[in-house]
Amino acid sequence: MFRFIVRRILTAALTMVAISVVAFLIIELPPGDYLTSYAATLAEQGDILSEERLEQMRVSFGLGEPLPTRYFKWVGNIVLRGNFGRSLEWRIPVNQIIWHRIGYTVLINISTILFVWTVAIPIGVYSATRQYSPGDYIATFFGFLGLAIPNFMLALVLMWIGFSVFGQHVGGLFSPEYRDAPWDLNKFIDLLSHLWIPMVVVGTAGTAGLIRTMRANMLDEITQPYVETARAKGLAEWRLIWKYPVRVALNPFISTIGYALPELVGGVVIVAVVLNLPTIGPILLRSLLSQDMFLAGAIILIVSVLTIIGTFISDIMLALIDPRIRLE
């Protein structure tokens, strides 16, 4: 087990290096740089920047140096000083823009996963153990419905319900009076009262998919001889179902924890915009459009690192839950 963990850590470190290079190259790929698009924006407003002024800015932002130099400067600052550079567009350090947003992104992400799992796994198990029963058909119906409804649509409907039925301030994660208030119990309760909408919106499709997968995995497992052995031993039916086949059927889900994060950042930008969530997705989109390379690079890098950490955690959890993985 120890060797297993060490090996995974080494692989993770190598992957991070590779990702930093790729992230940097991706930011560099589009023709031009931040100043070209900045100049273009100004020109639209009838404001022409002189060549000298442009060159001056290019030097002060460090945009003129060769590619490898810029890469090592960038990475060096991050690793040594935790400094992700300044956002070119916002003119403030990247750190001030992203960290609280990443915090909220992870918060929404984790609560969504918890929501999805607590709803989907019991329903999936029920569906499989009572295959083709009315309950199974109802679960299947709502499952497909959840898969078919676009997230942003659901977001709009829930916001409308929240507003017209509960008279609640909708959108965002806080009511206006708490947005900049220091943390206390009331602010936390306010957060919870807002959190359920993105949780349900982002989680619905995932829940629907997970119910189907759990059902299929369970149907494969409940006919296995080891389940029959457990039954022949005299275990109560619900106990043997949860101890044996559910345990085996869960494995594929644990391995997907690591992918949940990038999905939330990349996949639900529309929901984040509709719900006005202070998450990282909309910021990433904007920074890419304006070629704000330090901001975009920082986000891509941090999200990738979080993904690697997520994958690492799911690897360790898998090894803990399934002795066959430890074998290698």
């Binding site: 001889p225 022949a232 005299g234 275990l235 109560a236 039916e237 345990r247 085996v248 066959r324 074998l327």
Partner: protein
């Protein structure tokens, strides 16, 4: 002769599938004496495994016990009809493993892939006895030792993929013995093993039977294994038992044409033959079991006017055959049917 331990009367089990109804077991009668071994032999799909599961009342949907009695003489004066028990209720769950244990064909998949051997053994013990973890562990070690596994303490922490096929089946046998059952159902326990391991496992089972005094219901398609293990034999064909007798009678004076054909189709070391005989035709489609005597399309002795509705007849004391024509071609006592 022991006392009767289990009596199956006119058992019917069907599977209700969308394609049709499969009558997997249609009228099986078995009697098991305490401490003896009853061998059930038949081709794949003849209903022998389903019968075994019915005895534990664990036939799974879409299967169902339609009719019949499964009388368990745990207390000889108050037999329990297992077929009438709630298949998920506490009564049948106490009988399972506590009184009737079962081992299966695939020792690989009969053990959980993600639980240690110890976890599964201790679970079985603590489910039926008031034992502490330490006591259950101690008992597991002794049993693993008894079934011939070395380093039993280490084995408790092992997982199924770390063991060989023979070791797995030994573990299953040790697990089956945890509650000193009075009946052990063995559903093709050696089919997935190589021949050497097979004979070791059979020897072990015989020793343990003497030691623990349990009855064994031994299910197999292998007549060689039957000859080695069984005291009494029931031959099944398409959900019915076609012949019941003690093992010597089955091998030397078989009365039913199907039993005779089965015996002719296994190689013998004392007779030189050019070609091994096989039974003509195939096992019929389970959705369309032939009317009348189910074996008639494959039988040399078939006469339409006589074989419409055969009944189980006692051809000799203790030997029963499901054949209308048996008395006519019954070999005289002492003569070998398959020589």
């Amino acid at each position: 002769m022991g006392d009767t331990l289990l009596e199956v009367r006119d058992l019917h089990v069907s599977f209700y599938l969308t394609e049709g109804i499969v009558r997997a077991v249609s009228g099986v009668n078995l009697t098991l004496q305490a401490g003896r071994t009853l061998g059930v032999v038949g081709e794949s799909g003849c209903g022998k495994s389903v019968t075994a599961r019915a005895i534990l009342n664990m036939v799974q949907r879409p299967g169902r016990i339609d009719q019949g009695e499964i009388l368990w003489y745990g207390d000889p004066d108050y037999p329990v009809d297992i077929a009438q028990l709630d298949s998920r209720g506490p009564d049948i769950r106490n009988l399972r493993w506590g009184e009737i244990a079962m081992i299966f064909q695939e020792p690989m998949t009969s053990l959980s892939p993600v639980h240690s051997i110890g976890n599964q053994m201790i679970e079985a013990i603590r489910l039926h006895h008031n034992a502490t973890d330490a006591e259950a562990t101690q008992q597991s070690v002794e049993l693993l030792n008894r079934v011939g596994l070395s380093q039993p303490e280490r084995l408790l922490g092992a997982y199924r993929h770390e063991l060989s096929g023979g070791m797995r089946q030994r573990v299953m046998i040790a697990m089956a013995l945890t509650c000193s059952p009075r009946l052990l159902i063995a559903d093709e326990p050696t089919t997935a093993l190589d021949v050497t391991t097979q004979s070791q496992i059979l020897d072990l089972m015989r020793d343990l039977q003497d030691e623990f005094g349990m009855a064994i219901l031994f299910i197999t398609h292998d007549l060689g294994v039957i000859a080695e293990m069984a005291d009494d034999v029931a031959v099944m064909y398409l959900g019915k038992e076609v012949e019941i007798a003690d093992v010597d009678t089955i091998f030397h004076q078989a009365a039913h044409p199907y039993t005779q054909a089965l015996l002719r189709s296994i190689p013998r070391h004392d007779v030189v033959t050019e070609r091994l005989e096989s039974i003509v035709g195939n096992v019929p489609d389970p959705y369309n079991i032939p009317s009348g005597c189910a074996f008639h399309p494959r039988c040399h002795h078939y006469l339409p006017e006589e074989c419409a509705d055969p009944e189980l007849v006692e051809v000799r004391p203790g030997q029963w055959a499901l054949c209308a024509r048996t008395p006519e071609f019954l070999p005289a006592s002492g003569e070998r049917t398959n020589a």
